[in-house]
């Protein structure tokens, strides 16, 4: 039993109709570790992390979080267990302000009229939103700004702030660098390293192997829904990972 183990997914299978997206897949993540999840389109990367985020139910297999078996029936359950995600599309609410975005689903409330009404604690939301944004090092002072008025990098940091502010244990980054400028990419990669330093486990999915190699400790490669390689970054190189991704079909 690995005491450092944060997430252990064992023998996970998942089909969508007749398509087997995952076949007996195993995946492990330790505390303070960044694991890159690589694979071609349709290899099952997104399915795997969406199962961990509670978005998809899985057909069979077991998931352990810090050694104890968990059942992830909904995104809410995953979030409550400390599994947070930063999605490719950021999953932000364009027409809503920053603090409502950051606190969506876990808004603090205060009692009014002797507990008859539970109203949003807007001051607390505002205050904590500022604290959360400070962590991402992007300076946004107006928490009542609507998300659609923000730049790409600012939006990214709102999504990041939302994921890391609530004592996450695991942070899933699904293509976090896809739509960003070079400078913004570096910020996101730095952030992954900061999370790691705090003992948080990070799963990063990206098509850009250079990005992945610059931060990951380990890389798991999926092919047609099964893991085909699990390499320490120190012991491998981009060429080898590329071969694993492409597989035997073309070699």
């Amino acid at each position: 039993m690995n005491l450092n183990s944060l997430v252990s997914m064992q023998n996970i299978s998942k089909s969508f109709g007749s398509i087997e997206a995952l076949k007996n897949a195993d995946f492990n993540l330790n505390r303070g570790e960044i694991v890159g999840l690589a694979g071609d389109n349709g290899a099952g990367k997104s399915t795997l992390v969406k199962i961990l985020a509670g978005v998809f139910p899985y057909d069979s297999g077991e998931i352990f979080l810090e050694g104890s078996k968990v059942k992830l029936n909904s995104p809410k359950e995953a979030i409550e267990l400390g599994i947070e995600s930063i999605y490719q599309d950021l999953a932000l609410f364009e027409d809503m302000d920053l603090s409502r975005n950051i606190f969506i689903g876990r808004e603090p409330v205060k009692n009014k009229l002797g507990g008859l009404i539970k109203s949003l604690d807007k001051e607390k939301m505002k205050e904590e939103t500022l604290n959360a944004l400070k962590m991402t090092k992007i300076n946004i002072k107006d928490t009542s700004a609507l998300v659609h008025t923000l730049s790409g990098g600012q939006r990214q940091s709102v999504a990041v702030a939302r994921a890391v502010y609530f004592r996450a244990k695991v942070v899933i980054m699904d293509e976090p660098t896809a739509a960003l400028s070079v400078k913004e990419v570096q910020k996101i990669l730095d952030l992954a390293l900061e999370l790691k330093a705090e003992g948080i486990g990070v799963i990063i999915i990206t098509h850009n192997l250079h990005h992945m190699f610059s931060v990951a400790d380990r890389i798991t490669v999926l092919q047609n829904g099964s893991p085909v390689g699990d390499k320490k970054v120190a012991d491998t190189n981009i060429r080898e990972i590329e071969k694993l991704i492409i597989g035997n079909d073309f070699s």
Binding site: A53, G54, F93, M96, I104, S119
Partner: protein, 324 residues
């Protein structure tokens, strides 16, 4: 000035207020007897009955769905209430009516969210089914209201015990304003309101952030049907009778009022308070045209033009990029 304009732009109800003021002034100047207490209170009676439904429809539209069955549920609520009232306490009859309405709303929500059928079609079918049912149970005849006066007194009769001009008002006015303030508060100041917005703005993201969007929508369908039925009960107890045709076409008036009130057809934006002005505006147009001596047939054309203008204005005022 710039700041002021920005603030206005972020208030979805501003347009309906403007329209309300413009028409109110026009009708007051040119309409004979328009600006009298009696006319204004009877206008407000109609406004309250339309507006109560609008609150529910507004919540539903903000969460991204429609309800075309409210006109039929309004009629069903009224007619079932009148059929039950002679046999029991009228408050009990009202409770049964609301229970039936809640089940209809639940069914609309269930079919829409679990079977992924557009609510437009689900509630269109429901509208036709219920209207058919009403003709069946009434055999097409007018039903009259007998039994105790409890609901009548507390919802729709003129408050004639009150002194002076207050005696022209009805409890339904208070119910409407009370519900309006309550639901406006819920929308902007509670977790539920925040979740209703989130569901309408970006449903896939809301699901991934752990919100049960299906249940949120279903609850809004239930609120919507309950308010429609309540409004039906208020209307028939005011007339003390009701034909099976009441509420025909009402669903479109309600949606028109919601849109003029600043609620987006695509969900995600809107404010409940705008309904106060837009519902009044719609009722005022019918009444005002009549008092100005214009042919009453103009009414629907007028409402159509106003809906069109307010939609265009609302879209132009929003500084966002197009989502479509």
């Amino acid at each position: 000035m710039n700041n002021f304009l920005l603030r206005i732009r972020n208030r979805p109800e501003a347009g309906s207020f403007l329209g309300f003021v413009v028409f109110f002034i026009i009708f007051s100047i040119f309409g004979d007897q328009f600006f009298t207490l009696g006319n204004q209170t009877s206008l407000f009676t109609l406004t309250a009955e339309l507006g109560i439904i609008c609150i529910g429809v507004g919540f539903l539209m903000i969460s991204g769905e429609f309800d075309l069955s409210v006109g039929s549920v309004y009629a069903l609520g009224g007619i079932v209430f009148m059929m039950l009232a002679p046999h029991m306490h009228s408050l009990f009859a009202l409770a049964i009516v609301l229970l039936i309405a809640a089940s209809i709303g639940w069914f609309n929500g269930y079919v829409t969210t679990k079977h992924l059928i557009p609510s437009f079609l689900v509630t269109l079918s429901m509208m036709l089914i219920i209207r058919g049912l009403i003709y069946m149970i009434t055999s097409g005849r007018i039903t009259s209201h007998k039994g105790d006066l409890f609901v009548l007194t507390f919802f729709s009769a003129k408050m004639s015990n009150l002194p002076g001009f207050l005696s022209d008002f009805r409890p339904s006015h208070l119910w409407f304003v009370g519900l309006l303030i309550l639901f406006h508060y819920i929308l902007f100041n509670t977790r539920y309101g925040n979740h209703v917005f989130a569901t309408g703005v970006n449903k896939p993201a809301a699901v991934r952030m752990g919100l049960n969007t299906d249940w949120i929508k279903t609850k809004n369908f239930m609120i919507c049907s309950c308010f429609a039925a309540l409004s039906g009960v208020i209307a028939v107890s005011r007339f003390r009778m009701g034909s099976p045709n009441i509420g025909l076409g009402m669903e479109l008036e309600v949606i028109a009022a919601a849109v003029i009130g600043g609620i987006s057809l695509y969900g995600g934006t809107g404010a409940i308070i705008g309904i106060l002005f837009s519902a009044f505006l719609i009722c005022m147009i019918r009444n005002g045209l009549l008092l100005m001596g214009a042919p009453p047939y103009w009414y629907s054309a007028f409402v159509g033009v106003i809906v069109l203008i307010s939609t265009i204005v609302n879209i132009k005022l929003q500084p966002r990029k197009s989502k479509f």
